[in-house]
Symmetry: D2
Subunit: 367 residues, 4 copies
């Protein structure tokens, strides 16, 4: 029970179902004194909004966020932020059909088994709309990170079997194409691929990559609450994510120690590494270099193509899922991954503050 | 701060450093009435014990566990179990050299940056010896699972680029070869490969796979504390793990929805699936089918081969790490992965108990 | 940081300030299948609503609750309940004066010291309006308790030095008089007393008592999360509460063991006690008898009478607090105390479910 | 389940039963760099040790603490401290008799009801020996507080109806008399009283008071995790505590606002208060003045005088509890109360560190 909150000191509690009245998040533990406006949050919410391209559900949602508490005279007060988005486009009739059967690849059956029944409209709590709260919280977290000079970059690394080419990596393109790929050649190939799947009533998956720059060293708590372990939980908690890796991840399993170790050196008095296979984390603690992670996203389970399933009357049936669905979740999930990285880092940053007695003394000398 | 505990209701707190007096774990939240002996725990500890094969460090540790609390007349009492193993073979002199420099691939530098200094002997808290507490707790968790008819099977899936062949999968072999591979052909090839690396003073990594059978449906809490997210954290919190996946994991990212969805059917009145790409979890909740997960393990960072690094005097140096090290961590990590799966499942099982009001009524009707 | 949530399995997160847009609560961990309507919550909120008697602030607030998530077809779904009340009567101009000085007995100074600044309107987060979220959550908790046959009775035990007489105790009167005293003679005396204080621009405090009947035995976790310890935290977390006791409480400190011990006996095959000085809890665990607790409430700090204080310009000044204030907080706090008792008991009840292995087996045999 | 840990960032997990092999505590989240020796801990343990005066059980326990982890070269490393005390004087035969009946005032019955059975020797987990772990952790916490200039003073305020006289308050006497009273007249009267009770095979209770000086302002998290709420939980979690109050506590309930409010003024540029009825906390947050709290301790339930109870065969019986018991728990509980105050304050101090964005910036500017 009680699995809708995340974080120890920077703590989010998301709430809301796809076709309920609203969705939202309460953020408890946001430091006081951070300038925060609705617009700060809205610009990230707009990045996950549906109806914006040929590759996303045409369902229109305004998704206007309201800050109900925790901000006074334009700054956070240290008390909980309550952020809310009303659901406006609740075409429930699209979903009444599915009340009786279990959609393959969805959580219909497991919610029924766990709770005895479920809100079947649009997936209820397991819907992607739950991520609105995460993205809103992520926007707040990123304001904190920005004040500390920490930045996160997140993008689509692959769609189906089409991967971006690092030689053509162009950060500027990420939010300028509907697939969030930082490589215009890959965008073209992927767009063609996704369109062909759409015609066939099919869908596809992909990989999202995120990196964090200017992260302080020392974040992450041994031994269970390692930075990579907390990030793994954060990312795996996003619907449709089936795999997580840090640094070179699964590739490390096939390398030798000599190939995989990152060698240290000095450059102009600073510690440098010849490589960063570890992705900026050793023993679960950040070393101040670039943190790199990836999430594997499964193909959208809701497809028009015919599928075999069962209904609650005990019959095997064939279904074709109607309604408005994304042929690929990946681009809309990019900002969700980034948000979870941001909230995790803020939480670990706050948790790290008292790790040395000298840190504590530094803050309390003026009392 | 405070990252050495895991779980909400079945809660472990591990403690201890490689070359301190002892290592151990406190388990808080173990249900009362479970038969538990030292032997139950010892048999799992013996599976991670060093000095047992050509492929593990020859360091000898008796690793005898003592139950200091929480058991009365052979049964758990419901109060905390304190399990302790004294460190016996503390050849600290092997390690004094490394106090001055940072070993590539280790947490030496990050501990220094986080805490201002560190226990440099044998890696201190970041040492693999910390996992003794996890394995001891896992043994207790498995007693609970056994009482409920739930079983876990864990093994080496690959070493370097050598993968087991599912057609030759033989569960009985797992603990009968030093590499924990359930495929005798793969064992042979891997043994040859590891020996060649040992000669070169090098090391390698691999992949561990684990599956759980007879798991009840309904485990896992939406939306952050999903079963797969909790497992991801549990597994990624093990040192040397760089990637985690559930079901078909990263492979799902390159499939289409039609290929990846698991279709439902009925067989003799029971719900069956034609495939299990999801690995037994939808929307973060178990469906009662086989749960499957994998962990990517990096190659042992401690190698005899020459490496470039820096020391605390600001010099770049070449080192060759001496002492006794595993050429491959994978086989010794198999029981660690299994233990973390076990404790996670017990915790989620306890957390799920009150999910329906009818469940609560069932327990309290007799009062 | 992050102190606005309460509970482990039945977890509330309240949010909102006195003069912000709204106040509310997210309840995570409510079991599925509980019938719940707006009216169930509204009737408790109405008990704390201002403007209802001569003894409460005449400030009118409709305080209409809205259920934004977690209920489908009239029943809880197991997912988070988001309950919200918009603030309607925000006469901020009453409060602008106080931005510059620190009101004695209030949290003005401490919020400034902690956060660097504060929302000074109406006390911001430290306002009594925060308790709306607690009461709403308490109403939900009481629906669960009702389904299990557990009931809570809460009332004013004393106002100033006027105590109720147990010989005249009449439960029916609690919600029929504006002071919530179950003794009509005491009501009369207290009303006269409070009126005299109101004329003098002064205020008073009192004691609230609460008892729980038909509580199952076994609730409470040794050794820190005892039922009485959790209740103490729950009750002391309510603004203006300065003391907490269980059973005979402070009186026990002046008794002998022979006087204070509760002797056991049998009556018609059931265990009975000759007394209940312990208030139904031994070793932190409920014994199934009547649970009894008390909270000491300080006098309302906002008074019209002249007080000495300081302003932010470094001056000592005399103030007379204007605006609409309760001459006594006690009656409006009765439902708040009851709510916190209810949520604590539900949480401890859920936490207790897996305490014996046989309990776990009972739930999972059908899988 | 899982109630044996306390704290969010400075987290203790105590373990051990009265007549098990050992008792101990794991402290997770202790900042690195604090000088710590066995002696630091031993001197506090010695203050709760039995067998030291006519007013305590003559049971002899060496209670020698061992530091098993978390300290390297005389300083804490930031990783978990494991502190252990072996039980040496386990005269279990004293207790076998009580396996069959329920001692009035003890947790015998409630443990049986909760867990199905219990370790009946010496009270098992509900024994006062559990507090060894708390006192050991408190000693560590006090080392941190000392480094920050914060001090705690704790003493017996009353025994039975005999209260100390503030006019004779002499801090130096606290640890120089077996009753821990800072007033030699009160000591004499109380000693006579306790001796008379001992002759009658009876026991008594008392009140413990604690105050904290030089506490920084800003500690305590609104709204549930207020400093007073956390302290209430900490203190009420100690066995035999039946009441808790902060500042003037229950007395506040009978005062008027004008009497109870603490007026502010300036003195040499610093904020001063004319009184401190609030005990240093407003809105749950410390204001930097003296923090004052009290705990009501019930009389020792184990008495030689004849008591009526029941056994497990369904009979009503008369018992006279033999064995070695304290006629009064209060003096031995003084250090336990102080320890819980210390650990709570350290935890809240660490939690407060990131409350303002400027605090975070201050720590991370050097990265």
């Amino acid at each position: 029970m009680a699995g809708s909150s995340f974080g120890t000191l920077f703590k989010l509690s998301t709430w809301g179902e796809s076709h309920g009245k609203a969705v939202g998040v309460v953020i408890d533990g946001c430091p006081a004194g951070i300038p925060l406006t609705t617009e700060d949050i809205q610009q990230d919410l707009d990045k996950r909004k549906p109806g914006q391209s040929a590759f996303a559900t045409p369902r229109k949602e305004a998704d206007q966020v309201d800050i109900l508490s925790g901000v006074f005279e334009g700054k956070t007060t240290g008390t909980p932020l309550s952020l809310l988005v009303y659901n406006q486009n609740q075409r429930s009739k699209d979903y009444t059909k599915i009340a009786d059967y279990y959609r393959p690849g969805h959580a219909d059956l497991t919610y029924d088994l766990k709770y005895g029944f479920r809100d079947y409209r649009g997936g209820g709590r397991s819907s992607g709309r739950e991520t609105i709260g995460r993205v809103a919280a992520g926007a707040v977290a990123k304001k904190i990170l920005k004040a500390l000079g920490i930045s996160i970059t997140t993008y689509t690394k692959s769609i189906g079997k089409i991967h971006i080419d690092l030689d053509r990596f162009n950060k500027e393109q990420i939010w300028q194409n509907p697939l969030c790929m930082p490589d215009s050649h890959a965008v073209e190939a992927a767009a063609t691929y996704v369109k062909s799947l759409m015609k066939a009533g099919n869908s596809c998956g992909g990989i999202i990559e995120s990196y964090v720059e200017h992260l302080p060293a020392g974040l992450g708590e041994p031994v269970f609450d390692r930075l990579d372990a907390e990030l793994a939980k954060a990312i795996m908690s996003i619907g449709s994510v089936k795999g997580f890796e840090i640094g070179n991840g699964f590739e490390a399993s096939s390398l030798t120690g000599l190939e995989n170790n990152d060698f240290y050196g000095y450059k102009q008095g600073l510690i440098v590494k010849e490589s960063n296979h570890a992705g900026g984390i050793y023993g679960g603690i950040s070393d101040g270099s670039k943190l790199v992670l990836r999430a594997a996203i499964k193909p959208t389970p809701s497809i028009h193509a015919t599928q075999k399933t069962i209904n609650q009357s005990g019959e095997e049936i064939n279904i074709s899922i109607q309604g408005r669905h994304d042929p690929i979740i990946v681009p809309r999930a990019v900002i969700v991954v980034e948000s979870m990285v941001a909230v995790t880092i803020v939480d670990m940053l706050l948790r790290n503050m008292g790790s040395q007695i000298s840190h504590i003394k530094k803050i309390y000398t003026k009392q």
